[in-house]
């Protein structure tokens, strides 16, 4: 009975990884094809709800808050279940579905992912599933990388940033495909 439950869980995890790989591949291809996102930063300042208008920034207009919220649920679930962080989901969701520029989407995702991850990290912490010896050095590396990345982000050409992000999406899709096929843990 217990063995059957474990097999069911592994099959569900493989299916989830496969679906996520397909989603990442779709997001990567869409980002290559649609450099400005689906919400046009048009001249009509009166379009959208008052809340959406209040969230717009210089040169762009935010839309699709409902789609963004739904994407956030997917991003949070994927972050907690697969341990990859929600960035690969939330950046394409904000950029392609909500019309947020790539740099702003990356910065916003950075802020959000900390909150998303902390909710699931507390659960893992209470279950004793966080290894401090692995998490400590990794967190130092993340801090150094995030500090350097946020300082150079504004100096990098947006096309290079886009290609880098698509490369990360494709690599993550590749890793998820390996997990779905049982080739990786």
């Amino acid at each position: 009975m217990r063995s059957s439950t474990r097999q069911d869980w592994l099959a569900a995890a493989a299916l989830l990884a496969g679906l996520f790989a397909a989603l990442l591949l779709y997001a990567a291809l869409t980002m290559l094809r649609s450099p400005t996102g689906s919400v046009d930063a048009g001249d009509d300042a009166t379009a959208g709800s008052p809340r959406e208008r209040s969230l717009s920034g210089p040169g762009y207009r935010v839309g699709g808050l409902g789609r963004g919220a739904a994407g956030g649920v997917v991003g949070g679930a994927v972050s907690a279940l697969l341990g990859i962080g929600g960035g690969p989901v939330m950046v394409p969701v904000m950029h392609l579905l909500m019309g947020v520029p790539l740099r702003v989407a990356a910065a916003t995702s950075n802020l959000m992912i900390g909150v998303t991850a902390s909710a699931s990290a507390v659960i893992y912490l209470l279950r004793g599933e966080i290894d401090p010896y692995v998490a400590g050095p990794t967190a130092i590396g993340v801090f150094l990388g995030a500090t350097a990345g946020s300082r150079v982000a504004h100096r990098i050409n947006i096309r290079i940033l886009r290609v880098l992000f698509v490369a990360v999406l494709l690599y993550t899709a590749f890793q998820m495909s390996r997990r779905a096929l049982g080739l990786a843990g």
């Binding site: 001249d43 692995v134 967190a139 130092i140």
Partner: protein
């Protein structure tokens, strides 16, 4: 493009700005303190001849205090990690205070909901483990 509304009010009350500065400084200090604790912990681990791949202990609050008092690396690592995990919710709590001070009801509700979801996830984890 012109004619788009600004993302935030163009003017800000001085007391709001000073509150924001204080919160930002506190959070930055918290992040640097967490990283400093982690560096001390990792260096102590390596000096003690242990590998990060050896597998560390679970978090035990009682032991955390004694580890810190005895300057053991495990204590520094766990305290640093707890600060790392606590920083994002602290940032949301700080935002909630800021929105309430500015009377931005909509954003205050969103910040409150986020804190509520984090609290709920903790309660669910405690109940399901207990």
């Amino acid at each position: 493009l012109t004619g788009l509304p600004p993302a935030r009010p163009a003017t800000e009350a001085p007391e709001d700005a000073s509150l924001e500065d204080a919160i930002a400084r506190l959070l930055t200090l918290g992040t640097y303190a967490a990283v400093a604790l982690l560096i001390v912990g990792v260096v102590g681990l390596l000096l003690g001849g242990r590998s990060p791949l050896d597998g560390g202990p679970r978090l035990d609050l009682g032991r955390l205090v004694s580890d810190l008092a005895a300057l053991r690396p495990d204590g520094f690592l766990w305290l640093g990690l707890v600060v790392v995990i606590a920083t994002p919710p602290a940032r949301v709590a700080a935002s909630l205070v800021r929105y309430l001070a500015r009377r931005e009801r909509g954003m205050a509700v969103i910040a409150f909901l986020i804190l509520g979801i984090i609290a709920l996830s903790i309660v669910v984890a405690i109940v399901s483990e207990g």
